[in-house]
């Protein structure tokens, strides 16, 4: 049923796909983390305008499909004079989309630290930054890590969106192999195996982190 030759004959295509899927995921991962933390901070500062901007950002990107975000970069930006190729558009779309979820996780983590602790820290003479650094963030990080790991798992799966805009990722090449060989089941089975190799370790890590949090909490 599954013909191994599909893998051996097209090994170079699969390999290039894996490489691009990995780089897209890692780039989007780093970018979405930075962007997500910035937006989370915007949402909890005492500037009303920043609060609103942060909320609009999060709500907008969480409520539209990832494909649409990618289309905005791939088809929409050229209309404004900026053309980015499929790989870059896909990665940027992935980054912006995921950052909205990370922003929410980070905000929830920070706000889960009881306000009493912040007040106590402030009244004992610590500055706002010191309070954040020594009291709030260490506790928040512990709460935030499991949902963020989970987002990264989603991110790797979602990176398959690159295939729709010809981003040369694993899904794209799996599809190309399929259209050359007409052996759909085998072409996709190997794509599945490679995705699982990337996602299962993340899945295990995310579960383990969640367990540890439950035990310590």
């Amino acid at each position: 049923m599954i013909s191994p030759d599909i893998l051996t004959d097209n090994w170079d295509l699969y390999l290039e796909g894996i490489r691009n899927t990995l780089s897209a995921s890692l780039l989007a991962l780093a970018g979405s983390f930075i962007l997500g933390v910035i937006v989370a901070i915007m949402r909890i500062t005492s500037f009303r305008l920043l609060n609103i901007l942060g909320a609009v950002y999060v709500e907008f990107f969480r409520n539209i499909p990832l494909l649409l975000v990618v289309y905005i970069f791939f088809l929409g930006l050229p209309a404004l004079g900026l053309t980015l190729n499929g790989f870059i558009s896909g990665t940027l779309g992935l980054m912006v989309y995921t950052s909205a979820y990370i922003a929410e996780a980070v905000r929830a983590g920070i706000q889960s630290v009881p306000i009493g602790q912040t007040e106590a820290a402030r009244s004992s003479g610590l500055t706002y930054t010191q309070t954040m650094r020594h009291v709030v963030l260490p506790q928040a990080v512990k709460i935030v890590i499991p949902p963020i790991t989970n987002q990264f798992l989603n991110l790797v799966k979602n990176s398959s969106i690159l295939s729709v805009v010809s981003g040369f990722d694993l899904m794209y090449f799996g599809d190309i192999v399929n259209s050359y060989t007409y052996d759909t089941v085998s072409s996709y089975a190997f794509v599945a195996v490679f995705y699982l190799i990337l996602t299962i370790p993340l899945s295990i890590a995310s579960n383990a982190l969640e367990r540890r949090l439950l035990r310590s909490g």
């Binding site: 049923m1 709500e59 907008f60 969480r62 409520n63 539209i64 499909p65 990832l66 494909l67 649409l68 289309y71 905005i72 088809l75 929409g76 050229p78 209309a79 404004l80 798992l153 799966k157 979602n158 990176s159 398959s160 969106i161 295939s163 729709v164 899904m171 799996g174 599809d175 399929n178 052996d183 759909t184 089941v185 996709y188 794509v191 599945a192 995705y195 699982l196 996602t199 299962i200 899945s203």
Partner: protein
């Protein structure tokens, strides 16, 4: 950018037709995946010999694959295995299996979050395992699951856009056809499409938040 010709009557009605199919796809997949997800989640929670590990394997397999791959597979792979579905039902199958696996996880962790003390108390007061599940665990667990399940429904509605790769004629495919008319209407059309998804999803998310607020 040309907003007037982008939002012509023909274009609007064509996009609405696509959005109709998007909503219909989402509604059917929501119903099927909710039922299937609950069943799978409960089986996995109840640790039935043989059955639970099989369900567990299925859930983890599907959860760790991209939905796009499942859509391609349901459309082009299944016929090779002798199961040939019309495109619409191939899409429903892929969406249902994927979202059911996600919901099964929500259900299982919801049930797991029910205090073991309650379960033990119920059992020692003479209730059978089935009765305990039905009268204690499910009612408490279900209430906790509702907000994440509604968020999953929002994801599902967004995920229907991925069926663009099998040209079903839902929202995104229709948007592609309309955008092909003229480069100047690409941006206005993308905005309009975003707005339509946003409205429906935002209303759903407000609903989820109200449910969440009522619990605490």
């Amino acid at each position: 950018m040309d907003f007037t010709s982008a939002y012509s009557r023909d274009n609007l009605s064509f996009l609405l037709e696509g959005f109709g199919l998007t909503l219909w796809l989402a509604l059917l997949a929501i119903i099927f995946s909710f039922v299937l997800g609950c069943v799978l989640g409960i089986i996995r929670y109840a640790k039935v010999p043989v059955l639970s590990p099989i369900v567990g394997l299925f859930v983890e397999l599907v959860r760790n694959l991209p939905l796009l791959l499942l859509i391609f597979f349901a459309r082009f792979g299944l016929p090779e295995l002798g199961v040939s579905l019309p495109p619409f039902w191939a899409a429903i199958t892929a969406l249902t299996l994927f979202e059911a696996a996600m919901i099964a996880e929500i259900v299982r962790s919801g049930l797991n979050s029910v205090d073991k003390g309650w379960v033990e108390a119920a059992r020692s007061s003479g209730l059978s395992y089935g009765q305990t599940l039905q009268q204690i665990i499910l009612p408490i667990g279900l209430r906790r699951m509702v907000p994440p399940i509604v968020s999953q429904f929002i994801s599902l509605l967004k995920d229907t856009s991925l069926t663009v790769v099998i040209t079903l004629g839902e929202m995104m495919h229709h948007a592609n056809i309309v955008m092909g008319q003229n480069s100047r209407i690409v941006f206005p059309i993308l905005l309009l499409v975003a707005f339509m998804y946003f409205i429906v999803n935002y209303v759903l998310s407000l609903f989820a938040r109200r449910l969440e607020a009522r619990q605490t």
